[in-house]
Symmetry: C2
Subunit: 226 residues, 2 copies
DNA sequence: AAGGAAACAGACCGTTCGGTATCCTTCCGA
DNA sequence: TCGGAAGGATACCGAACGGTCTGTTTCCTT
């Protein structure tokens, strides 16, 4: 596969068109590096990092073992490269899903769980690579936990900003609340393979997003309805 | 270690005093089987299943390799035994933490996140073994996902019962909402090692638990406060 | 046309893996 | 007292692991 186009690796970064979905291993980078990154991302996420051997990666990528070690040096380096690129892609997709379509902060935050739902429904949804990486390694070590927290901090940072625009007097707390629901939905969807958990998360998040904007109105409505 | 008391394995189940905490590998069963189960639970949870070799388990258990294979037959069987015993212990602890102390359904459900917080603060807290097991294996396979769902179903079943007593007209939905917050808190605590995430979860769950019991009052209070 | 870089192919290395076989020690009850 | 069960110690097996090596093919450049 991909016999043609043995690109120069220094030119790889030029094929920068954004991917339509956040899942791993579907970039259209056909260089050896890109194919290795795609295959490694797919296999690491689907089967786990420790359960994925080098041989399986080069088989799916259609490269030689020498190429992998010339480009990445070690399996550890490859793992780090996968997490970095996958994290970046995922964040671009996720933040894009909130922002695209415009509207106010409430509209943007309300798009979180529908976006996650479409992710959960993909064939190649395998949960959060960062959570899974932490889970299958030494929990007293900081390596993967630091990477995961860095990723999470960026995501929650954006949510916190929107929470501030929403009018929350504690945007950081609201961001952490939504983060909890996001993490919970991801792992529940990974285990159950039911995208519907995103609806439950949206139902739970709803009152959190509306309680400043329409706080008075909702309180009055509830008082009337009881 | 444990030179004395080479118990008959058929008598192991008689040492049935409940453990004070839900974490893995601290049972006081000093038979070879018990020590192997403790060591395997500890190492599987701390370092991951695939990253834990047989040699490390028998070293921590202080048994011979022959003994492990005589008692469990294979690593796969040992993994299943660990998940089964650990799941049972955890559920007994968790449900006990809700029930002990009495009170009404709201009081019991309100104890969920304080209980989790004390779990998160333990030195040997390594996240949920079921979630981690799913994360480090083939996500298209059903083995670990089925085990995890069975565990979760029992836990949510109890919560659903309490939600019904609380007066919710959709106790199953409420149970799933709380389940989302529980899962989210567990993985967030595993990554961050901050037990405080349980407080955020409790803050988010609070309105869900009070909205029937004191719905009218809260609505009136909010209307007044805005 | 020729040279060189990049990638492919695959044999190979030392280590570790899960698992087996052999033999030895300890203890307990008949 | 003695036999057998439970467990310990250790050598060993084949397979798979991460990683290296040598050599060949392919393509781009000049």
């Amino acid at each position: 596969m991909a016999k043609l186009s043995l690109n120069k690796p220094s030119l790889n970064k030029t094929s920068k068109q954004k991917s339509p979905s956040p899942h791993g291993g579907t970039s259209d980078d056909e260089s050896a590096r890109g194919r290795l990154l795609n295959a490694a991302t797919h296999l690491f996420c689907k089967n786990g990092i420790n359960a994925t051997g080098i041989d399986a990666i080069i088989a799916e990528a259609g490269t030689a073992k020498t190429t992998l070690y010339k480009l990445f040096g070690s399996k550890t380096n490859l793992v780090n490269a996968v997490l970095e690129s996958e994290g970046k892609q995922w964040r671009e997709w996720f933040i894009g899903a909130m922002e695209e379509g415009g509207g106010d902060a409430q509209a943007k935050l309300t798009r979180i769980f529908p976006a996650l739902k479409s992710w959960f429904a993909e064939e190649r949804f395998y949960g959060c690579p960062f959570i899974n990486a932490v889970g299958e390694h030494d929990k007293d070590a900081k390596q993967f936990r630091n990477i995961a927290m860095k990723h999470k901090k960026i995501v929650l940072g954006h949510i916190e900003k929107l929470a501030g625009e929403l009018g929350s007097n504690e945007p950081l707390v609201l961001a952490h609340q939504l983060g909890l629901l996001i993490d919970g939905a991801i792992v529940a969807a990974m285990v159950s393979r039911d995208p519907g958990v995103a609806d439950t998360a949206a139902l739970t998040a709803g009152p959190l997003l509306g309680q400043w904007k329409a706080k008075k109105k909702r309180a009055a409505d509830q008082l009337e309805a009881v």
